[in-house]
């Protein structure tokens, strides 16, 4: 081959891994700034009780956002995470409270419903080739309706299901509510899925260039279904955690959570175009949202101004993050 080909070879010393870590550190930096600001602004903010409150407030939306990250990595979108979560809550209620199945079975059942929702989304997107927005919008409505139908529009209470409330409310690690622990474990699983398994790799490839991925011999349709199913499992998990925290399944809840989850994903640096995704970013994005809300409340900012403040801070945080990344890249 031509001799001079690689003479200009590797001059860049920072490895790719480090660069990415650096980026996430910066998004994390945004979170830290917000944290520091509120700590100074309010003496109550840094209390462990309050931090725990923030973490708890992050947990459910955060878990949903993990699944949504996978779907968004493919360039898709999942509008069904909110009401889908509710349907999983309700079905968990049916399994445990109404049918009296054993705890483990009920919880796995809730997850399975999540997977089923994902399966239907996946089939609609991959085989019927519906735009993900349409497929999951339809699922959002169907799940909302079914939650109400199945529950008879009444909450299902878990008061008689021994141990269910402990699932999210207990503290396996003293001081840390299980809901938060579950969130962190789920985040690690999602992170590994995204960066180390075929599911995650193909999600990113599809998001990057679906046609090229297909021509490269990847069974894009099958993998899309797999990706949506995995995302559905997170929806199911969110549903179970939600139900456990409220010790009841609330069929009317759920609408609007999808936007929050997607916002967390995007604030975290995952691109809605697909191909680029980071789970750590999503976790940080979810924390930023929850911290902002909490901090403004702690400061007793009137509700209507809170919205304005959150909006502006989101713009600033994302813009600052982009600036830094732009400089660094």
């Amino acid at each position: 081959m031509t001799t001079s080909g690689t003479t200009t070879a590797p001059r860049r010393t920072i490895s790719f891994g480090n660069r990415q870590q650096l980026q996430q550190l910066l998004a994390f930096g945004g979170l830290v700034v917000i944290f520091v600001f509120f700590s100074v602004a309010s003496p109550y903010f840094l209390d462990w009780a309050n931090v725990k409150g923030i973490l708890l407030a992050t947990a459910v939306t955060g878990i949903m956002a993990l699944g949504a990250t996978l779907v968004i990595a493919t360039g898709g979108i999942d509008l069904s995470v909110g009401t889908g979560m509710t349907l999983c809550s309700v079905m968990t209620g049916v399994f445990l409270a109404n049918l009296g199945l054993p705890l483990v079975v009920g919880v796995l059942g809730g997850l399975a419903i999540g997977a089923l929702i994902g399966l239907l989304n996946g089939l609609n997107v991959a085989y019927l080739r519906l735009p993900p927005f349409i497929a999951t919008l339809a699922m959002m409505m169907v799940a909302q309706g079914l939650s109400l139908v199945i529950s008879g529009t009444k909450p299902i209470y878990f008061s008689d299901v021994a141990g269910f409330g402990q699932l999210a409310g207990g503290e396996l690690l003293p001081g840390l509510p299980n809901a938060v622990l579950i969130f962190f474990v789920a985040a690690v699983l999602a992170g590994v899925t995204l960066s180390k398994t075929l599911t995650g790799r193909y999600a990113l490839s599809i998001g990057s260039n679906e046609e090229a991925t297909a021509i490269s011999g990847v069974d894009v349709r099958r993998w899309k279904v797999v990706i949506y199913v995995v995302a559905g499992l997170f929806t199911g998990l969110a549903g179970v955690v939600m139900a456990s925290r409220l010790n009841s399944a609330q069929p009317g809840l759920g609408l609007g959570y999808e936007l929050e989850a997607i916002a967390a994903v995007v604030i975290g640096g995952t691109s809605l175009r697909g191909g680029k995704a980071t789970i750590l970013g999503t976790v940080i994005g979810a924390l930023i949202m929850a911290t902002l809300t909490n901090g403004l409340r702690i400061m007793s900012i009137p509700q209507e101004w809170q919205k304005v403040a959150v909006g502006i801070v989101i713009v600033l945080a994302v813009y600052a993050d982009m600036l830094r990344r732009g400089k660094e890249a």
Binding site: S42, A49, N50, V60, L148, Y157, L246, R297, S300, Q303
Partner: protein
């Protein structure tokens, strides 16, 4: 139930009453619906019941009212989210000779033959009275469910007014809104407690808000330290009262509200005289009277 199984309502021989409420998936509205269904069965009429998802959706509700009118019902029951906005349709109903029964809150119009409602201002003042008695003095806070709807505002207004006028030693330090979502109400309540460690009581203005407050108190390990007062019922709330997590709550009588609405509608259809105002009433309930017959009858699970 709503819907009537077979043919579309209005096509049969039975009189048809269309109810357009402020919501449908909350327990409160489901209880209203139940009362309406009870009356329907008793009086042998058809009833349909629907409402928007949240109490901000004024335009959605108007569209529902429009569709209900298009079905040419014999009477309409209407819980207006915004009474001004519905005036043209009220006029329309009147011109078509369809009697309108207002329920839950009044309509600023002389079209409705009667109004079946709870006096939210009085009810929340009652909540404030109990809060004042239980707390004595110090800081309290409110977790509201809706900032813009009339009901949402009155539940806060009646409470604050009472405190301002009757309990000078009590200070309302914060009012936050969380859309009646239990989780979000819990988060809000926690933040308030955090900002005011010496807080002595919290008032939640509807079922979701109240349960959220209980959740917050529980999760912060401060059960028993704070006086929690709620609104409406539902199993979570009645359990909290029995467990001593909640001092007590105001309940309306939603079943009666639904029942009276349909009853008044039938009376109007039959051309009978109807009282211009039917108060569906409210009650204070706590550990002591929760199992009284009168109270138990108006509580819903």
């Amino acid at each position: 139930s709503s819907g009537s199984g077979g043919a579309a309502p209005g096509t049969g021989d039975k009189p048809y009453v269309a109810l357009v409420s402020k919501g449908f998936q909350h327990q409160f509205w489901q209880a209203v619906k139940q009362g309406a269904d009870d009356a329907a069965a008793e009086l042998d009429v058809e009833v349909t019941f629907e409402g928007p998802e949240t109490e901000t959706e004024v335009e959605k509700q108007l569209t529902m009212l429009q569709t209900a009118l298009d079905k040419s019902p014999d009477a309409i029951g209407y819980a207006a989210l915004d009474s001004e906005a519905s005036i043209p349709m009220m006029t329309d109903a009147q011109s078509r000779g369809i009697p309108v029964i207002a329920f839950d809150s009044g309509v600023d119009s002389d079209v409705p033959v009667t109004t079946v409602s709870t006096d939210n201002l009085a009810a929340s003042a009652e909540a404030a009275k109990h809060m004042a008695e239980l707390v004595g003095s110090g800081k309290i806070a409110i977790v509201g469910h809706d900032q813009t709807s009339q009901t949402g505002q009155q539940r806060v207004e009646g409470f604050t007014q009472y405190i301002a006028e009757n309990a000078p030693d009590i200070e309302i330090v914060d009012t936050q809104y969380a859309a009646g979502d239990q989780l979000k109400s819990a988060d809000a309540a926690k933040a308030i407690m955090q900002a005011h460690p010496d807080l002595k009581g919290i008032y939640g203005t509807n079922e979701g808000s109240a349960i959220g407050v209980v959740k917050a108190v529980q999760e912060s390990g401060r059960a028993g330290e704070l006086t929690v007062i709620g609104f409406d019922s539902g199993k979570a709330q009645t359990d909290a009262i029995r467990d001593g997590l909640m001092a007590g709550a105001i309940t309306q009588d939603p079943i009666k509200m639904g029942y009276e609405t349909v009853k008044a509608a039938v009376a109007a259809i039959d051309g009978e005289e109807v009282e211009p105002v039917i108060d569906s009433g409210f009650y204070w309930y706590d550990e002591t009277n929760i199992d009284d017959e009168e109270i138990a009858a108006v509580l819903y699970e």
